[in-house]
């Protein structure tokens, strides 16, 4: 597939950043383990560390070649391997996209419009996401640059106005019941960063990719996660554990003078991140389908992906129990480790083996030619 339009490295990571921010604002506390506010804040430090570490395989991959997609590189090793990778990536993207759409639906149906039929409502963001994917990555990059300003302003408003309610007594001693819970939650939160594996995948769409940007991006995500968790813990205390969407609950408390009750505006701004994430997911899936089938039926692929996400969302969000079992499934963490760490390392290893083989062949050929040329 040719990549006619490319975006800058900054634009690319900006899309990934906003995409990950949606996971921050729809964070559901204590879904797996009951953590104290201190341990919850500490779990975000673990998240940042894990994220940094799991970016290393992708970085190593990029260091060798920062132009070609991981699919192209895999197909050089084995076309079958490349096809399998495409399927794995599609499954991962569909999983993350479905969970995103389901979280989005749960957020709206729990805190905004519980009386409205969300099935119809969710068609709108998915249609917008499909349209965004159809317009291509450049349109997404431009929109994301504009959204970034709004999202950062909303965070600044919430964090600065809520500081007066920050209570150090909300933090019990760190790891009072051991550090295991924080470490585990940190891993699960990190596994929600499916954006990591899209870096190696969508390189052909990035102009002059700067390899170190992946670490800058992981640091930006880490800082955002730490800041959000610290504010949630310090302001809401254990009340945060009782709330489905604790970031939303924080936004409800944010006010400054006569500027109050801004939660509706802030939530709308945060929803832009969902549109970016869904749009990016649909775009990535359509690219993978294009790699898989070769035929240039982009509009069909986009429509199929959006329809799959819609169907998945309907199935997952039909009951809160379905939702809980899907978002807490082991697939999250295994899928993440596999696609973010194992796959890049496997490609690197495959390339190394192939290179060694080639070198050996060249050496053998040289030896043969040398021996043939030796007049004994």
């Amino acid at each position: 597939m040719t990549a006619p339009v490319k975006i800058s490295s900054f634009q690319f990571y900006n899309i990934l950043f906003l995409s990950r921010v949606f996971a921050v604002v729809t964070y559901i506390a204590n879904l797996r383990i009951d953590l104290s506010p201190s341990d919850k804040a500490a779990s975000s430090v673990f998240t940042a560390l894990y994220l940094f570490v799991t970016c290393i395989p992708t970085y190593l991959l990029l260091r060798k070649d920062s132009q070609s997609s991981i699919i192209t590189r895999a197909s050089c090793l084995s076309p079958v391997f490349a096809k399998i990778l495409c399927i794995v990536y599609i499954a991962d993207f569909l999983y993350y996209g479905t969970v995103t759409a389901a979280r989005f639906e749960l957020l709206i149906s729990s805190v905004m419009f519980p009386e409205t039929n969300m099935a119809f409502f969710m068609l709108v963001p998915l249609a917008v996401a499909g349209y965004g994917a159809y317009k291509g990555i450049e349109a997404q990059g431009r929109a994301a640059a504009f959204f970034l300003v709004l999202v950062l302003l909303s965070f600044a408003f919430v964090f600065l106005t809520i500081l007066k309610d920050f209570d150090p007594l909300n933090f019990p001693p760190l790891f009072y019941e051991g550090a295991g819970g924080s470490a585990a939650i940190g891993a699960f939160t990190c596994a929600r960063t499916g954006e990591v594996f899209s870096v190696a995948l969508l390189l052909p769409f990035v102009k002059n990719h700067k390899n170190h940007h992946i670490f800058l991006w992981s640091a930006a995500v880490g800082v955002t996660v730490i800041a959000a968790d610290t504010v949630i813990s310090g302001v809401l205390g254990t009340f945060g554990n009782t709330q489905l969407f604790s970031m939303y609950s924080v936004s409800v408390l944010a006010e400054f003078g006569f500027v109050e009750r801004m939660d509706a505006v802030i939530t709308c701004i945060w929803m832009l991140c969902a549109v970016v994430k869904l749009s990016f997911t649909v775009f990535a899936c359509s690219y993978l389908l294009l790699c898989l089938f070769g035929k240039k039926l982009r509009l069909l692929y986009i429509s199929l992906t959006a329809a799959a996400l819609f169907a998945g969302m309907l199935a997952v969000s039909s009951s809160v129990l379905n939702f809980a079992s899907v978002v807490t499934s082991a697939f999250t963490i295994y899928g993440y480790v596999f696609t973010a760490c194992v796959v890049p390392l496997a490609v690197l290893l495959g390339e190394k083996i192939k290179q060694n083989k080639n070198n050996k062949n060249i050496e053998n050929k040289t030896l043969i030619s040398d021996s043939a040329g030796d007049p004994q």
């Binding site: 519980p114 009340f239 009782t242 409800v252």
Partner: protein
């Protein structure tokens, strides 16, 4: 084609993106709740809700409604059931986002309050920062009380609590604070105490903040007066401003609190926690009943400072002693501070915290600085 599409989608948006579109709840079908009073009928084992609702009809007509708010009284085994019967009675859906206050009647025990609050934590239109207060008698009397003016009583009560909070006569307690304090194993939560008072001419009744209700686990009701509340706020580092009077040998002085900062250090003495509380308070002298006008002497100011320090120290000692030793209530979050300072020892002591409270040692120290003396002159 683009223009046609834009026109089509524009028409779709105009017709559908409207608050009055089909299927949405219109404003006239909403019960805009201003205040809620919760009482508990022990005989029937039912919650008795008094709900103050804004009158939305007549807004566009020439005559404004006589009363801006109307009160409904409903009962139910659960809050949801009571609210459901309110909807049945009025044919409207309740909207809690404008709710200013939830008042708990004296019939509600600590456990019953927690039960009742679950509904407001789950309800999507309710806000986590709604004010919480306790009634000295029935919550119904507080919510339905009207001073005869056209003001909504819930709004007046909200204003009274906020003003009293600024004057350090009560703590501004919001819903999420109650949840937090309740979740702490050793802490006892409190709420501002409201009482219906009658004026001298016995004509108008008004709602007044008279102190604090402490939700101890004991049978007897634990209340603090407004002055006790001020000392409780001094210990808890929550004093914003306020006025208090002190007496010296030469006269009485009234002091306005400008700022106050409290630090509490936790240590261990005889395997028990020991708290050292230090208050640094800056005040302005606003009145001095000496023997003459003006020319207040430096020695008088020093005496006032000393008297203010003793006053704050004595008041804090009294309130700490009463709550820890008599009521066995940790309203100061001492347990929480101890947990942070000595987590291991806390783990051993926390199970019997209320039994340990009377044994806990403490010391208090206040440093008061008179910053200004008003427009009258000083004799140095």
């Amino acid at each position: 084609m683009k223009k046609l599409s834009a026109l089509f989608f524009g028409m779709v948006m105009i017709l559908t993106f409207s608050s009055c579109s089909y299927g949405e709840t219109e404003l006239k079908n909403r019960l805009i709740i201003e205040g809620i009073g919760i009482d508990y009928d022990e005989k029937e084992d039912m919650y008795d809700l008094t709900v103050q609702v804004l009158v939305t009809s007549g807004g566009g007509s020439d005559e404004a409604p006589e009363n801006p708010a109307v009160n409904y009284s409903v009962k139910g085994k659960t809050i949801a059931e009571a609210v459901g019967s309110l909807s049945d009675t009025t044919g409207k859906n309740p909207l809690y986002s404008q709710n200013r206050i939830i008042v708990a009647g004296s019939s509600l025990t600590r456990e019953k309050i927690v039960e009742a609050l679950d509904y407001f934590i789950r309800e999507y239109t309710a806000r986590a920062d709604v004010l919480m207060a306790a009634a000295a008698g029935d919550a119904k009397d507080i919510i339905s009380n009207s001073d005869g003016s056209s003001e909504i009583s819930a709004k007046i009560i909200e204003g009274a609590i906020q003003e009293s909070s600024v004057n350090s006569k009560c703590e501004n307690t919001e819903l999420y604070n109650i949840v937090n304090l309740y979740n702490e194993d050793t802490t006892t939560f409190t709420m501002p105490l409201l009482e219906v008072t009658t004026d001298r001419n016995l004509t108008a009744k008004t709602v007044k903040v008279t102190g604090t209700r402490v939700f101890s686990s004991g049978e007897d009701e634990n209340r603090m007066s407004d002055m006790e509340t001020m000392f409780f706020l001094f210990v808890s580092d929550k004093v914003q401003s306020g006025t208090f009077s002190v007496e010296t040998q030469d006269g009485a002085g009234a002091l306005d609190i400008i700022k106050s900062k409290t630090k509490t250090k936790v240590s261990v003495k005889d395997n028990l926690p020991f708290y050292e509380t230090e208050v640094k308070c800056t005040v302005d002298l606003v009145e001095y009943d000496g023997t003459r006008f003006g020319n207040i002497e430096k020695s008088d100011i020093l005496k006032i400072q000393k008297a203010a320090e003793s006053y704050i120290e004595e008041g804090m000692k009294e309130v700490i002693s009463r709550q820890l030793k008599e009521e066995k209530s940790d309203i100061f979050r001492f347990g929480r501070m101890f947990m942070k300072a000595q987590p291991e020892l806390y783990g051993k002591l926390s199970e019997n915290w209320s039994e340990i409270l009377p044994e806990i040692g403490f010391s208090v120290d206040a440093q008061v600085t008179v910053r200004r003396i008003g427009q009258e002159t000083l004799k140095a």
